[in-house]
């Protein structure tokens, strides 16, 4: 029986990911283009927010993926710390810049959306501020990876940082809620159809293209992480080869 841990073997991972990568890229392209075109051109404008509502097809999926990317890094860090699978540590390293960029996109589109809606680019609101802090966590994590030369040591230390950072990210999230009641609306995607009032939750006209675009961003994340992990593995093999040559 094959177990999931066999993918911790870099060779096995490379073989499987080579097969998976085109699928992930293709699905990402199809879902992203489909969802975004559907969203931008074939949905009506919102009766209150006008055309600006269309930014949700980018803003909401990237925000969701920004948090999930950190969660994925947390899981990978735990696997590395407990079972010491190199691919896991490299996947966490590969995911960090992707998550960072998603956070940045969510912050930026949020600012662009917030300007016409709330009349301000930035507000010290719990959601916005916790995303800024998440962005700082990504920066610190990446900086620590860059600062340490020994790869195993770097993987260990960044994993510990990721663990502690997750706890503090959660803590600041709830701390911020106490601090200031927000301007940002609550989660509306999961309340579709559950809302007692009609205008609660996202209308299904907007929801389906957004879910398509979300799937697109998920596949995009998977494709980018697979691609970057493969690059990391190759870079490490190259390093080993060069070291071997110098020894000989």
């Amino acid at each position: 029986m094959s177990s999931i841990w066999e993918y911790a073997n870099p060779r096995r991972f490379m073989a499987t990911s080579a097969k998976l990568l085109p699928w992930a890229v293709g699905l990402a392209a199809i879902c992203l283009i489909g969802g975004l075109v559907w969203g931008f051109f074939f949905t009506p404008n919102d009766f209150r927010q006008g055309a600006t509502v269309k930014i949700i097809y980018i803003h909401v999926p990237t925000a969701i993926m920004a948090i999930n990317a950190w969660f994925m890094m947390l899981v990978c860090s735990l696997i590395w710390l407990i079972r010491r699978h190199h691919v896991s540590a490299l996947a966490a390293k590969a995911a960090a810049p992707v998550g960072m960029v998603f956070t940045l996109i969510a912050l930026f589109t949020g600012a662009v959306w917030g300007q016409p809606m709330w009349g301000t680019w930035w507000e010290w609101d719990p959601r916005l501020t916790s995303f800024l802090i998440l962005f700082l966590f990504y920066l610190g994590y990446m900086a620590l990876w860059e600062a340490i030369e020994n790869p195993d040591q770097a993987a260990d230390l960044t994993s510990v940082l990721c663990l502690v950072g997750s706890v503090f990210a959660l803590l600041s999230r709830y701390a911020l809620v106490f601090w200031n009641q927000g301007l940002h609306q609550g989660t509306t995607v999961s309340t579709v159809g559950v809302g007692v009032e009609e205008n609660e939750g996202v209308s299904s006209i907007f929801l389906y293209p957004m879910l398509t675009s979300l799937a697109g961003f998920v596949f995009l994340f998977v494709a980018l992480v697979l691609f970057r992990t493969r690059t990391e593995i190759r870079a490490r093999r190259l390093k080993a080869l060069i070291a071997q040559e110098q020894m000989a």
Binding site: I133, Q153, D156, L157, L161, S172, A175, F178
Partner: protein, 218 residues
């Protein structure tokens, strides 16, 4: 353990630089504030409590890279690691020594500096209480950050980048307790939450710091 604590304290006081430096920084920070935002007493009084918290946090941050760096450079950290004392206890002791030499003087100095910022009278007790409750968390978090970056040359800036986001919840609740107190509102909830963060940090972070030290000393 007591001996180690005494050694750290003596080193901090005698070796120069470490002990008074963050206090001096705190003083200068506070003295610069009126230049930056204007000396009107009303406006100063409004933000004094939050500013003092911010100043204390930055002063604390400045002294973090001294926690392990000197011991690392002269090799005594290796000796301490091989001693029968567990590394977790070492990390906790280092955090305690850092708090005694940095956090505690800042707490003591805060009321005096509150005076020059026109901190309103009823604000002193909540400010002192929140600083007393919060600064140990700053030391514990900082010790973890210092343990992470101990092997890195010129890790000071990296240390700030790593530690500052971790400081957010402590600063938030601590400053909230102080400002609520300054406005004459009830400040027990944020104070208790600050205390909760401190207790959690003291209980858990020495383990993370010890793990990082072990990796760095390997």
């Amino acid at each position: 353990m007591i001996g180690l604590l005494k050694r750290d304290l003596a080193l901090a006081v005698r070796a120069g630089g470490g002990f008074g430096l963050s206090l001096a920084f705190f003083l200068i920070f506070t003295a610069l504030v009126p230049f930056g935002i204007g000396p009107e007493t009303g406006r100063l009084a409004e933000i004094a409590a939050g500013l003092l918290w911010l100043g204390a946090l930055l002063a604390c941050l400045l002294s973090l890279d001294r926690i392990f760096q000197l011991d690392w450079e002269d090799g005594s950290l290796d000796l301490l690691a091989t001693s029968p004392l567990p590394l977790e206890a070492l990390a906790a002791l280092k955090a305690l020594a850092h708090w005694i030499t940095t956090g505690l003087p800042l707490v003591v100095a805060a009321p005096l500096l509150g005076l020059i910022l026109n901190l309103p009278g009823p604000a002193y007790v909540p400010l002192l209480a929140s600083l007393l409750a919060g600064t140990p968390a700053l030391s514990a978090i900082g010790t973890f950050g210092a343990a992470l970056t101990v092997g890195i040359k010129r890790g000071g800036l990296l240390l700030s980048l790593l530690v500052l986001p971790l400081y957010v919840p402590t600063l938030l609740f601590g400053a909230m307790a102080a400002t609520r107190g300054a406005q004459g509102l009830d400040f027990t909830t944020p104070l208790l939450l600050t205390l909760g963060i401190t207790l959690g940090a003291i209980a858990l972070l020495p383990f993370a710091a010890a793990a990082s030290l072990r990796i760095n000393l390997r």
